[in-house]
């Protein structure tokens, strides 16, 4: 049985968390995550979940407490945004290094300064090297679905890694849209019981967490971490298959839209993909062979699969909602890396859009498609990296 509701992205995720009913959650409020955890705290206060909810004094503490609870053998959830994720940064590496399958919605927000609370991917991109799995979501439905699948992926016995579920602050977190919820039983059956490994509370098998590992073994632990996160593709697809059976919704490593016969393409993450798909439909009506690829995972990055999907294109624009100042945007560099080994490389350009929640409008996507068409025709590139939607 499923329920169809009109909810905000945060309400959808709070509902997922109620259905999942984790053992432990340590949280610190930060816009635009606040009303997600407020909603979940209400579920807790009203007795709908048996989760132990702890309000801590900072995000660094929130992640630290979650690490402790995960070491103790609990199913653990927290959530954050922007500067909150930045404050967690040190502990993110501890969670992944200790292979603790903590699941964390990241409601994407800009980093200061100037102070800004709106949708921007700088927060998650800043944490891209922390060893966490990153799942990105276009809308509230995808965020809800990814949240549920994240537990199966993170907690898989061959993976045991923490996972972030990213969705755009305000644009998704605070906008109301149609979401299909699964029943509580379906969700609980799908995620199953949590199996702790190396629980600190198991006095029959005493373990120590957090030992010093110096020059003689640290390098080896990092190699294992790299191999584990790189190998999750098969499990992701298996979980997606099972999820399709209970939900009817299909997921993969990435989303491709009208790519098969496309000549020009846009690669873009999260909510802006929806706007772009609409504009692509319009362009197709005019006979422009445009398509879109939206990575679902930024970590691990599925280089080979994505390169193959983009291999037929002549010109690609990779669009970043965050910047690496003095360099190309983070998504662009991954796409460029994935194409480098190909014989016939497409022309690749980078646009920085929508920082600090600046609207990404259909007209912006139209301008990009027009520019790509022109490059396809003339072969002339004026800017490899450019900010769009700027006030002049």
């Amino acid at each position: 049985m499923k329920t169809i509701s009109a909810v905000t992205g945060n309400e959808a995720i709070a509902e997922a968390m109620r259905q999942i009913n984790p053992d432990f959650s340590a949280v610190y409020p930060i816009t635009p995550q606040t009303d997600l955890m407020q909603k979940f705290s209400s579920f807790h206060a009203d007795g709908y979940v048996s989760t132990e909810v702890v309000l801590v004094e900072s995000e660094h503490s929130a992640m630290s407490a979650c690490i402790g609870a995960a070491c103790a053998g609990g199913r653990v959830v927290t959530a954050t945004s922007g500067p909150g994720l930045a404050l967690m940064w040190e502990m993110l590496f501890v969670a992944s290094g200790m292979r603790l399958p903590i699941v964390m919605p990241v409601v994407n927000r800009a980093l200061s300064a100037p102070l800004n609370i709106h949708g921007d991917h700088s927060d998650a991109m800043g944490a891209r090297d922390s060893g966490w799995i990153q799942i990105w979501s276009e809308n509230a439905q995808e965020a809800y679905d990814n949240m549920i699948q994240a537990f199966r992926i993170a907690e898989h016995m061959d993976i045991r890694l923490p996972a972030m579920v990213c969705y755009d602050g305000f644009i998704i977190s605070h906008s109301i849209s149609r979401v299909e919820f699964l029943s509580d039983e379906t969700v609980q059956k799908f995620i199953g019981d949590f199996t702790p490994t190396n629980s600190l509370l198991d006095i029959e098998k005493v373990v120590s967490y957090g030992p010093l590992v110096l020059t003689d073994q640290y390098h080896e632990y990092k190699k294992v971490q790299n191999d584990v996160i790189s190998s999750i593709g098969e499990i992701v697809l298996k979980v997606a298959d099972e999820f399709e059976k209970v939900s009817g919704r299909k997921y993969s490593l990435f989303d491709s839209y009208r790519l098969d016969d496309a000549e020009i393409g846009i690669v873009i993450l999260n909510s802006a993909a929806g706007t772009t798909k609409d504009v692509i439909d319009e362009a197709r009506k005019k006979g422009i062979k445009a398509g879109l690829l939206k990575p679902r995972f930024f970590r691990p990055f599925f280089y080979n699969e994505i390169a193959e999907a983009l291999s037929g294109l002549k010109v690609i624009c990779v669009m970043d909602r965050s910047d690496s100042f003095g360099a190309f945007g983070p998504l662009y560099t991954e796409i460029a890396s994935s194409m480098f080994h190909m014989k016939n490389k497409p022309v690749l350009i980078n646009k920085i859009y929508g920082l600090g929640g600046r609207d990404y409008l259909p007209v912006h996507a139209e301008m990009v498609i027009d520019e790509l068409s022109e490059i396809a025709e003339t072969g002339i590139v004026n800017h490899y990296k450019e900010y769009i939607g700027l006030r002049e």
């Binding site: 292979r99 190396n198 005493v206």
Partner: protein, 97 residues
Amino acid sequence: MKIRGWKDLNEGPVIKNPGNSILYKTGSWRSFKPVFLKENCTDCLLCWLYCPDMSVVVENGQMRGFNYDYCKGCGICANECPGKKRQKAIVMEQEGK
């Protein structure tokens, strides 16, 4: 202790056999070595009290010498040793001399 290759590591840096620090011999870090001069010792055991590891060997309340498998040669024992008649019972010597 056997240093493991990457294929043999636990899923995280978790110690599953408690008390295994005894297998990790740290004496090779030492560049100076404490030498015990029994004739100057009053068995006050300040060396045992101050040793940051457990490298001072005591039997029946008497100082017997050092466990060099774990002594890192910090020299605190020699510094603290009151000795007998201003003659230290512990002196530091450079390793490899």
